[in-house]
């Protein structure tokens, strides 16, 4: 269990390897974010029949760097009504977990450096994938506190929306991860990757019949607050969402965190469902091929993220909640039971399948009941939320306060 690097205690060479691994991951993330933002802008502009950034460097590849430098020279505003401590803390809560999540992603195979067995990933703690869920929960605080501490209504609305959205999709995310653990028998990301090695039909996406992968991908995109789930930002209605009041480098931190999370989430999808660095290798420079395979898979998913952003319109809030609670959670729970039963025997699998069909009928019936109740209540909104219209009416609530 755990990282073989620490099997013989912690010596100087181990510390050096640890530092090098962390620094490489750190550098990789920053460069990858820079390229990802450029890539997204370029691909989206292609899809929208525009040219996109083309002035800074070849193909505008240095655009992100220019933007970063510009933000550095901007005035750092602290709104009058802001909670000073929390307002300053929030960017850290957002960007630091974004750095950390990538630590558990296996980017390559296992190599031997100076008699140490080194896994090509920053860290391989025994809890592995749980760390991803834990850190992405911490990132919710960054978003929530940023909006709350701004002392302004649009950021507050954005942050409340974002927190509700992120916790809603976290349940589906967790359930699909459990499904993966059932198939791979371990929490450590290295164990998950190893269980999918050698052949592509060992990849979890295929072994689990794609459904958990699709759910994880949708829920992951929703966790990232990326389009079509970017209700927390909603430029057209909220001005910019939770980071409206932020400027200069503090804003840059949120932006950085968002793209870093996009990259990390795609890397986690590759790890959980597509074998991570698994792929055919050749006998020359053996250690390089897994890394190349990993990067190739990563780029595919990053492209899909951009593509989704260009293709889909933003969801309405009730659609967002319906998708999360009434579709993704029941389906992922049912699929989890199905996978578990199928591992016992075929007969149990069919039995559970029947049970899931019945549960689905019950759920459909429950939704009809809810709709009837809502329609019968009509326009008279019962206080406390018994099916009345739910809208974010600011003016109504603020009347008493002012």
């Amino acid at each position: 269990m755990g990282d073989p690097l620490f099997a013989h205690g912690v010596g100087l060479s181990v510390v050096v390897i640890v530092l090098v691994r962390a620094l490489v991951a750190f550098g990789f993330l920053l460069v990858a974010v820079m390229l990802m933002i450029w890539f997204e802008r370029k691909v989206i502009s292609d899809m929208q029949n525009r040219i996109g950034p083309n002035r800074t460097g070849k193909f505008g590849i240095l655009q992100t760097l220019a933007d970063g430098a510009k933000l550095m020279f901007k005035e750092d505003l602290l709104p009058e009504r802001a909670d000073r401590v929390v307002f300053r803390l929030a960017p850290f809560l957002s960007v630091v977990p974004a750095f950390l999540i990538f630590a558990i992603v296996p980017v390559g195979g296992v190599v031997t450096i100076a008699h140490h067995v080194v896994e090509l990933q920053v860290a391989d703690p025994p809890v592995g994938i749980l760390l991803v869920l834990a850190l992405s929960s911490v990132a919710v605080y960054g978003v929530m506190l940023a909006g709350w501490s701004s002392g302004s209504k649009y950021p507050l609305l954005g942050s409340v929306r974002a927190s509700a959205q992120m916790i809603s999709y976290e349940a589906a995310l967790g359930l699909t991860v459990v499904t993966v653990i059932l198939e791979s028998h371990g929490l450590s990301t290295r164990a998950i990757v190893d269980s999918q090695a050698r052949y592509f039909w060992h990849w979890n996406a295929l072994r689990l019949w794609f459904v958990p992968f699709v759910i994880f991908f949708i829920a992951g995109t929703a966790e990232l607050n990326r389009p079509p789930f970017d209700l927390a930002e909603g430029e057209s209605e909220l001005g910019g969402g939770f980071h409206t009041e932020y400027s200069s480098m503090r804003f840059a931190m949120f932006y950085l965190a968002e793209y870093m999370n996009t990259i990390t989430m795609s890397a986690v999808v590759v790890t959980l469902f597509f074998g991570g660095p698994d792929g055919p290798g050749f006998h020359v420079v053996r250690w390089l091929w897994p890394i190349l395979w990993f990067l190739a898979k990563l780029v595919v998913f990053l492209y899909v993220q951009v593509w989704i952003r260009a293709a889909l319109p933003r969801l309405r809030y009730d659609q967002l909640m319906n998708l999360g609670w009434k579709w993704l959670i029941p389906i992922s729970l049912g699929w989890l039971l199905l996978v578990a039963a199928d591992q016992i025997s075929r007969d149990w699998g069919f039995g559970v399948f029947g049970g899931i069909i019945l549960a689905g009928i019950a759920l459909a019936r429950a939704r009809t009941t809810a709709r009837h109740r809502r329609e019968n209540l009509g326009g008279e909104a019962a206080p406390g939320g018994d099916g009345g219209p739910v809208v974010l009416e600011l003016t109504d609530h603020s009347a008493g306060g002012g």
Binding site: V18, A22, E75, F99, L100, V122, A171, I181, V390, G401
Partner: protein, 151 residues
């Protein structure tokens, strides 16, 4: 404490991340201009002078979602250790988790039937035709000429 060794790289990365964020914010403080102005410190309101206080109250639905989330999160927390040793539990583990998931699912069904997870407006398809009695004047009366709130 051998088992904590594998968190050492994560700690290193944590320090790097905090340093990076602190340094870049610090440098921008040195480089950026400092020209405070009352309008800059005011809450952003798309150019309108803010008139309303911050909302003290929020739709109860958001709190409800948080409560329901706790139920599901606890379910998932129990599922993780179960999934790790599932191959040792065998049939017993399956029956156990079906009972467990069934119990949670029944409460989920109740929540759905009760409309706890509905967010949409009460009446969906409202006709988009002109509403009688709604004119430009009525809208101005309701919203106020300056876009603020008329009591």
């Amino acid at each position: 404490m051998g088992s904590l060794d594998s968190y050492l790289p994560i700690f290193v990365l944590l320090v790097l991340g905090v340093l990076f964020a602190a340094l870049s914010i610090g440098v921008s403080r040195l480089l950026g201009p400092r020209r405070p102005h009352a309008a800059k410190g005011a809450p952003y309101e798309c150019g309108i002078v803010p008139t309303n206080e911050l909302p003290r109250r929020f739709p109860v639905r958001f709190y409800l979602i948080a409560m329901i989330f706790v139920i599901f999160d606890i379910e998932i927390i129990f599922l993780f250790p179960w999934a790790v040793i599932y191959d040792q539990l065998g049939r017993f583990g399956l029956v156990e988790v079906i009972v467990f998931a069934g119990a949670v699912f029944v409460s989920f069904i109740y929540l759905v039937a009760d409309g706890a997870l509905d967010w949409g407006p009460a009446r969906r398809a409202r006709s988009f035709g002109s509403e009688p009695g709604r004119t430009t004047e009525s809208a101005v009366r309701r919203v106020g000429a300056a876009g603020g709130r008329a009591e």
